[in-house]
């Protein structure tokens, strides 16, 4: 397990390879469909400093408010590929070093990871209670009213949030390898 403290340097990120298990610590932000289009409208002042060197997490959490303080109850990853049209530009514009979600992303993002020095981190889907427990504090939330709970950008402090590097900054993608192998088996079974 490789410990990563956020914000992280480009050199540390370039050292990571597909298959590495990492433990994230520090402040990161959630962001999914609405957030990604909003992030590209202009350089958003509310989040630009927080995103530099940090991780954007594709997650729409279950939250609750206790004594005026937000708490994360359940916070697993959502499917990342929906952000494929935007992700590369978001990485470049905000200097993000990690994109975390599930299912992996496509060629455009893989290229952006290499060009900008970033990785794709795969969190276990559906394991939301454990991942919610790794969120120690909610520091704030951006666009809650407009985007709703799942789509808002939550500023969260995590402690030992675990994930696997499944796309690195050297052009490798675990998803591409697995897909190529399973395509071969599937075609044999189907007889095409």
């Amino acid at each position: 397990m490789i410990k990563i403290n956020l914000p992280v340097s480009e050199a540390d990120i370039r050292n990571l390879k597909v298959g590495d298990e990492v433990s994230l610590n520090g402040i990161m932000l959630t962001g999914r469909d609405s957030a990604h289009t909003w992030l590209l409208e202009e350089k958003q002042e509310d989040v630009k400093d927080l995103l530099r060197g940090s991780v954007i997490y594709h997650c729409g959490p279950v939250v609750k408010k206790e004594n005026d303080e937000w708490k994360f109850v359940a916070a697993g990853p959502t499917t990342s590929i929906r952000e494929e049209p935007y992700q590369g530009s978001v990485i470049k514009k905000y200097g993000i070093r990690g994109v975390m979600g599930k299912g992996g992303m496509g060629e455009k993002t893989l290229k952006a990871l290499g060009e900008n020095g970033a990785v794709y981190l795969h969190a276990v889907g559906g394991a939301a209670t454990l991942q919610g427990q790794a969120v120690k504090k909610v520091h704030g939330v951006v666009k809650l009213e407009e985007f709703g709970v799942p789509e808002a950008m939550w500023i969260i402090e995590v402690d030992d949030f675990q994930a696997v590097v499944s796309m690195d900054s050297h052009g490798n993608s675990l998803h591409k390898e697995i897909k190529a192998a399973s395509d071969k088996v599937a075609n044999e079974l189907i007889g095409i």
Partner: protein
Amino acid sequence: MSFKLDVDKFKDAITELIRKASTQLPADVMSTMEKARNKEEKGSPAKSVLDYMIKNADAARDNSTPICQDTGTLIFFITIPEGVSLRKIESAAAEAARSATKKSYLRPNAVDSISGKNSGDNTGIMAPYYHYEEWDKPTIKIELMLKGGGCENVSDQYKLPDSRLKASRDLDGVYKCIIDAINNAQGLGCAPGVAGIGIGGDRASGMVVAKKQLFRKLGDKNSDPELAKLEKRLYTDLNKLGIGPMGFGGLTTVLGVKVGAAHRLPASFFVSLAYSCWADRRCTMHFSESEVSYD
């Protein structure tokens, strides 16, 4: 004799049904996951991912928090005694959904498709949604499924014949469609999943048949010998794809395959796949005038 529905009691019972479905992985799914973990190679990502999933399911049950933050679409399959008011049932179920959202058993998950606005309480147009049957027992049975978006997005529907797959209008053609669909899904539907399959029907009823299969226990056996054979063949071959838990590779790509059929038009032959993620959240409630039980 008509069934007297105590609406308040009924609402609370459904709230509890939602809590159980969201926070407690069914026992048959849990034991299948444990078997899968034991089978995967020592030190493999597949084994550690399954282990993490199982630990998460235990923690969710212990803390009464959602297994997955995507608490899904609320799909109710309801069986009623003669004469029970559907309007009363739906108003109680909607009230229960609101209450379960307030208690954080559910994420606000109903978005207006035109304005993009989240209703905030899991109710809206066709949300939740309901299927009905009637029986002659003095009990209301409610089967609830919480179907997440990731696995719904990789669900699919084929129309036979399919020339790309060289699939004709027979069970072998059905087999080819499902191999193709699960291969396309990769890890995106949170593998290892459960494949609910509907053969025939129209585009809507075929998918209902597919979804209904997901209520079957993983260890059960199809009463139709032909379909039982197809389930077994698909289960064995899908697990040869090597996609594995979360698509990281491994021996476990599906936990189960369940097939049902409906009559079709002579002109149509649909194959519908309702894919459920490993967090296969379903729970059944029996509600009579005197008692409530859950399974």
